[in-house]
Symmetry: C2
Subunit: 137 residues, 2 copies
DNA sequence: GTTCCTGCAAAAGCTTTGCAGAAGA
DNA sequence: TCTTCTGCAAAGCTTTTGCAGGAAC
């Protein structure tokens, strides 16, 4: 049940704790880009002693080690996403939902030659999602 | 002196106020992606009665009308940029600086066909900037 | 004159910090 | 045993809200 997450933690030499396993499982099973508070409120149900600080600490570490990724598209909160294949995010300015977008682009020479060491690439798209567009009509 | 900004406001049918003109001028002359507080602290010097709420209100409006753009790369604060020409941003995780990156990519068919109305495209790159890379050596 | 904007004060919300005790390896 | 992690309480910051007065047109 937790083997997959356990393996990811061990690969990065991170200590395996029940809290980290639960957070990873939650993010893996809820691809809704939850905030720290959403993760916390849900995991607290089965583990009342869980602290929000632990959720903050854990997602920060998991993000640093590229097991999950942080999404800052909205600006006033950080959302998290279980990391997987290259995909990007679309924010609907009408309903606020964050939708996954699958789109790739070959890395350009002028970017590779910019001399900075690029570790992460995030693409954010903003606009109106197809559901909200339909409702407008 | 302010003609350029005055024109931008009038084009969008926004009221022309001294505060908005000063904010636009500040962002135009300081391409360092400042936060609301940085804008506020600097403009307050010549206009002590300026309110931070006004800066918040103004940048929100200017962003809505696409006169400036908001940058949410860091997650725990919103930064603003006068430049709306296609360019993107690189966050150095070592020194925290946000650097402009010029890189283009042809829009892909699968993105154009995704049925959502895409109004904005933001690319965020994260890593270590060339200055910090040199210091590491 | 009407509409929109500014500024103040207060509140709300997300995140960080410091530290003692607990748990993992 | 040593190191790292968790959880609590408090504080720190950024942002939002409500509203009265004022400025723009």
């Amino acid at each position: 049940m937790f083997e997959k997450y356990l393996k990811q933690l061990k690969e990065k030499n991170l200590k395996v704790t029940p809290q980290r396993l639960e957070i990873l499982k939650y993010l893996d099973e809820h691809r809704t880009h939850p905030t720290v508070d959403e993760i916390y409120q849900n995991l607290k149900k089965n583990n009342p002693s869980l602290s929000k600080t632990t959720v903050y600490n854990s997602v920060e570490t998991l993000d640093q080690y590229n097991i999950i990724q942080s999404i800052t598209i909205t600006g006033n909160e950080i959302r998290y996403d279980f990391n997987r294949e290259m995909h990007h995010h679309f924010l609907c300015k009408t309903c606020g939902e964050i939708i996954d977008i699958d789109v790739t682009c070959p890395m350009q020479d002028n970017m590779l030659n910019c001399k900075h060491q690029i570790d992460e690439v995030h693409w954010y798209f903003k606009g109106i999602c197809k559901n909200c567009l339909e409702k407008e009509r």
